[in-house]
């Protein structure tokens, strides 16, 4: 067992951190997220040039052939400055599905373009009537000649209006299939809007929209969707850890510099003890996020182990994110709830991450189902 990153990984981290920290301070982020598409296309291109958008994909698909440890490093840096680029949404989630399910041709085409930064791919999966399920019911797929057409509504779809390509889940005979829909497809309507965390989402309406089946056959893809969601959840845990870290350092800094009653706030023990508790939460979630990434990367992990690790990371991220997000604002006082100051945006993003793919209570319910299947949880596989 080893929690450390090697020098190559460290170098990647420094490069990404350098790029993102130059690109975003709270002021710049506010400006960028005010205008559509809610992120900086130039930063996206720079990430592509750095190879970041192809990190987890095989080299023959145009990617870098790296692991999820590298993805975790990037996600942490994204979270640290709240970079609004849809890294996890596009590279980890939508890209991960294409990599797992797509044909060699689809992989080369879609992942190549995604890695180059020339095509933003996102996963259109959530439906207004459903809640964190790996299946689709609101959008249905129908065979039409050689191809397929899709009808129904997906919402909210992160970056759904800006996306060049949508991977869409849809009900098929016997389960849920995955399809590729081009942004310029007929019968495709996308209503984009701003979300509370400054990013963008959309309602995606499909009305007999032509679509290409992802992968060879039209079987049920629920298992692949679950696994992709799990890996995205783990990546989000790292994004959240990065965000929590900044929320804590911002808060500590504020306590040191802000004066009340003639002394710095750091002289009030009731406040510093709460900052200490935030640190405890942060270190605990960091550990579990790193561990979950190791489980994802371990060649002998079963899908069940990956799903369970994701749920564990999700539960801890939810708890820590709420704790740190709330306390960061409270310890700041009034300035914490303003849009002009940074810290509340961290709370906002942490809240978004918590609700995108399943929150802590949802994860706890899933973990609760298996508590009697083991005497205790083994951190180290046997």
């Amino acid at each position: 067992m080893d929690f450390t990153f090697d020098t190559e990984q460290q170098a990647l981290r420094e490069a990404v951190a350098g790029l993102l920290q130059r690109a975003y301070d709270p002021e710049k982020r506010r400006a960028v997220t005010k205008e559509d598409p809610g992120f900086d296309e130039k930063v996206w291109s720079q990430l592509a040039e750095m190879g970041v958008l192809g990190l987890p994909f095989a080299e023959e698909d145009g990617g870098m052939g790296a692991g999820h440890a590298e993805v975790a490093l990037v996600a942490t840096e994204v979270g640290r400055v709240l970079a609004p680029e849809p890294f996890v949404e596009s590279v980890v989630l939508a890209g991960g599905l294409v990599a797992d399910v797509g044909t060699a041709e689809q992989r080369a085409q879609l992942l190549g373009a995604l890695s180059e930064g020339s095509s933003l791919v996102v996963f259109a999966h959530a439906e207004p009537g459903s809640r964190w399920t790996p299946t689709a019911t609101g959008v249905t797929a129908t065979r039409s000649g050689d191809g397929w057409t899709l009808s129904g509504t997906k919402e909210p779809v992160p970056s759904g209006a800006r996306a060049d390509v949508l991977v869409v889940s849809a009900a098929v005979e016997g389960g849920t299939g995955l399809f590729v829909v081009r942004g310029d497809a007929t019968g495709l309507t996308r209503d984009g809007y701003r979300t509370h965390d400054g990013t963008r989402a959309a309602r995606v309406t499909l009305d007999g929209t032509p679509a290409e089946l992802l992968g060879e056959d039209a079987g049920d893809r629920t298992a692949a969707i679950e696994l992709a969601l799990a890996r995205a959840t783990v990546a989000y845990a790292h994004e959240a850890v990065g965000a929590m870290e900044t929320a804590l350092t911002t808060t500590s800094e504020y306590l040191k510099t802000r004066k009340q009653f003639g002394v710095p706030l750091s002289r009030f023990q009731a406040l510093t003890f709460r900052a200490a508790d935030m640190y405890v939460s942060l270190e605990l979630v960091r550990s579990i996020a790193l561990w979950a990434t190791m489980v994802v990367d371990a060649p002998d992990s079963t899908p069940e182990q990956v799903l369970a690790a994701a749920d564990r990371a999700r539960l801890q991220t939810s708890k820590a994110g709420r704790h740190i997000g709330k306390e960061a604002i409270q310890l700041h006082g009034g300035i914490g709830v303003t849009a002009e100051y940074s810290v509340g945006h961290y709370t906002s993003r942490l809240t978004a991450i918590d609700h995108l793919l399943g929150d802590g209570a949802w994860a706890a319910d899933r973990l609760a189902r298996t508590v009697d299947a083991h005497p205790y949880v083994e951190a180290l596989p046997a």
Binding site: G129, R131, P156, Q330, G333
Partner: protein, 392 residues
Amino acid sequence: MQLHLSPEDQAFRDEMRTFFTTKIPQAIRDDVAAHREVSKESYVEAQRILNAAGLAVPHWPAEWGGRDWTPLQRHIWREEMQLAAVPEPLAFNASMIGPVIAAFGNQEQKERFLPATANLDIWWCQGFSEPDAGSDLASLRTVAVRDGDDWVVNGQKTWTTLGQYADWIFCLVRTDPTAEKKQRGISMLVFPMDTPGVTLRPIELLDGGFEVNEVFFEDVRVPAENLIGEENRGWDYAKFLLGNERVGIARVGATKRMIADAKEHAARLSSGGRPLIEDPSMRTRIAELENELLALELTALRVVSNSSDGKPNPASSVLKLRGSELQQAATELLVDIAGPLSLASFADDDATDVPEWARSATPEYLNYRKVSIYGGSNEVQRTIIAGTILGL
């Protein structure tokens, strides 16, 4: 010990409930219930209806529109108003400057301001906090220097809620910089917001709304007659006013409404093939929250029944502290029920299939972080409890 309301109080409650649910326009109450931004016009309309019926400022002296209600009746009045989603009488008018002028103003000031304040003909805002003061109000730096018949005010205020709607401001200013204790040299001035030298900068909040402001004063000339009470006694008036601020801030009725809404939404949403409300963890969470809220409501009832002398009861710190926590817990519950739908926060009605409540859930949750900060932060309340009640 008696569980039931007396027949008179029962009748009073029915009267309030009927009035609030029939006399205040449904559209206004819908806005409040849906957590939409309530327009200035709606606030004014609602308060004038209340005032015409003697329900805007019942806690004021009778001669200025007050009613001789028991503390329990005032409690019922406020709770029923919140339950019915009626916009409450503007706190700056009804709970803050009104009672101060009634208690400390001169006759001329009373006549000039009180009727207009009760009827929201004057919209007041508060000029207390300053950028470098926060909870440490006594450190304020805005100064007023006497120049002939005027005070000349220079400085800056912040967190001025709804200042953008305000006609007048009541302001704490330093009038004696040499006073030995910094609390001693403070006075209270009132003046119109359109006085030359007053500028206002709205502060955007996390939910994208604008409800607080910075207010700047540059050589603002305020006639001497606009001093409330005595010079250099502003600190006492502020303390009097902030004591009132804590009353009724448990906001049990509003939280009840949020939880009731949450249950309705959870009954309509499907999760894992069944209504979310049938999920055992969700049910337990709601049951526990309801119990906490019941305990708070009963504590509020105990506090009102023990506070006949009109002085702020130190136990009201419990109401503010716990009331804010439970309001926040209710907003968090709504976010968790909205789940993935909560991401559709700023979609226009015609661009989304996500219901309005789910869209507003997270902005509201983020905005509600403020309730444990303003009106005396929860840290201030703990200080009061530890010091005043426990003697620590």
